[in-house]
């Protein structure tokens, strides 16, 4: 193989600068996806907390701790872009009693939760599959309104 050190160094330097640019562009796309798709799914619910645009691979998971208040209705939206499968999301109370598991509801992307008592909850999100090279954007938004 004809090895040209100068050319290799150039390629390396180009890659060094390209990688952060590509990562930044992916982050921007992910945020755009959240703004355009996830927030729309909130409908007449007001955004609670902040929007989360997460770059996840198959098999990766995140955990969210949130407080929900009585007499309010919450809408949880968890969606993924076309590069990865629809994530599984599960909501449990602080004693680990499961409130909702979308795996039991055809992996639906929203869940409306009328809250009758104030409590801390855990939201667990996992992208199905094992191919760590398959990465995509997962959006999480929570909306709230009065009962």
């Amino acid at each position: 193989m004809n090895y040209k050190p100068k050319a290799m160094k150039k390629i390396f330097l180009i890659l060094l600068f390209l990688v952060p640019i590509i990562t930044y562009a992916q982050e921007l796309n992910c945020k755009k996806f959240t703004k355009n798709s996830a927030i729309d799914l909130l409908g007449d619910f007001i955004l609670s907390g902040r929007t989360h645009s997460l770059e996840l691979a198959e098999g990766e998971e995140v955990v969210v701790f949130k407080t929900v208040s009585r007499n309010l209705v919450y809408k949880f939206v968890v969606i993924a872009d076309k590069h990865i499968p629809q994530p599984r999301f599960l909501i449990a109370d602080w004693d680990n009693n499961i409130i909702f598991d979308n795996a039991k509801h055809n992996f639906q992307d929203t869940f409306v939760f009328p809250c009758d008592k104030t409590q801390r909850i855990k939201i667990w999100i996992k992208v199905p599959g094992k191919d760590a090279n398959k990465r995509g954007c997962v959006s999480l938004v929570v909306g709230v309104k009065t009962q």
């Binding site: 160094k9 390396f12 060094l16 982050e27 927030i39 007449d44 007001i46 955004l47 609670s48 907390g49 902040r50 929007t51 989360h52 997460l54 996840l56 990766e60 998971e61 995140v62 955990v63 969210v64 701790f65 949130k66 407080t67 208040s69 009585r70 007499n71 309010l72 599960l90 449990a92 680990n96 499961i98 598991d101 104030t118 409590q119 801390r120 855990k122 939201i123 667990w124 999480l140 929570v142 709230v144 309104k145 009065t146």
Partner: protein, 273 residues
């Protein structure tokens, strides 16, 4: 020459990767949720997110139990020029965000305009220029009569401000903003209680805030290497000590202790001591 450049670049890359990993793993809790087909272990999570109610949610909760509006307890918008350091500005941004949400939730949109200006000033000083720009102000002015639209815009703006700080490696300032926003919500709630013995709507809400307080302390603990954050955690832990004594029906002396403590914390945030 190139060899040396690559060597140093390599070292920088390795250090940046290591520091990112440490940050991520600094506050992992060991909680297992047992499901039918697998164990969910928080330690396996790529990321742990503390989602605190934003000021709009707090204002919505207060509005649910109090229909009458008063601006008596809001932080005067004229105070905006008191704040000079980034910590003071982040705290004030949180306080004004809650006041702004409170005003818009009660449809006090004309008054809210002054608070939008205060929030804009602070966000500019903190470098959050992309979030509150002229088009947002125009959008608010165009919808001034549409309460729901204004509430929604304010809520998304707060979310964007928080996201901007967190995504630009200024998570500590975001944590200050969130803390101050929560403190202001509780401060307004306790001050709206007329009679502890007869109140049946606001008192339960105030009691329930203990859950958010736990989440808030957990969030701040992630940044406790910062001495100032440590101080804020200590103050909130003292508030939590009072909360630990709270039972329903709430005793007047416990309520007074709670009110005094939250007022002290809030007034220190707005330099009003």
């Amino acid at each position: 020459m190139y060899k040396r450049v690559f060597f140093y670049l390599g070292i920088i890359l390795v250090f940046s990767l290591v520091s990112c990993k440490n940050e991520k793993n600094s506050d992992l809790n060991k909680i297992n949720v047992d499901t039918s087909d697998q164990q969910i272990d928080v330690n396996k999570a790529k990321e742990i997110i503390y989602m605190l109610p934003n000021p709009t949610e707090t204002a919505l909760i207060i509005k649910n139990s109090r229909n009458t509006f008063t601006d008596e307890y809001l932080c005067p918008y004229q105070y905006v020029d008191r704040y000079n350091t980034s910590v003071e500005e982040a705290l004030a941004l949180g306080i004004y965000s809650t006041d702004l949400s409170f005003l818009t939730m009660y449809g006090e949109n004309q008054k809210a305009v002054e608070y939008v200006s205060a929030v804009k000033k602070l966000s500019e000083r903190l470098g959050i220029i992309k979030v509150i720009n002229d088009s947002l102000i125009t959008q608010l002015q165009q919808n001034i009569e549409n309460k729901d639209k204004v509430v929604s815009i304010i809520s998304e703006t707060y979310s964007d401000m928080r996201a901007f700080l967190e995504e630009n490696h200024r998570e500590v300032l975001a944590a200050y903003m969130i803390t101050a926003a929560w403190v202001e919500g509780l401060y307004l709630s306790v001050n709206l209680v007329d009679n502890v013995k007869t109140d049946t709507t606001l008192i339960p809400i105030i009691v329930d805030q203990r859950y958010s307080l736990d989440n808030l302390i957990d969030l701040l603990k992630v940044y406790q290497k910062d001495e100032n954050v440590k101080l804020k955690i200590q103050e909130l832990k003292e508030l939590k000590d009072i909360y630990d004594k709270v039972k329903l029906p709430m005793k007047e002396e416990v309520f007074d202790a709670l009110k005094t403590k939250i007022s002290l914390i809030r007034n220190s945030y707005i330099n009003e001591l």
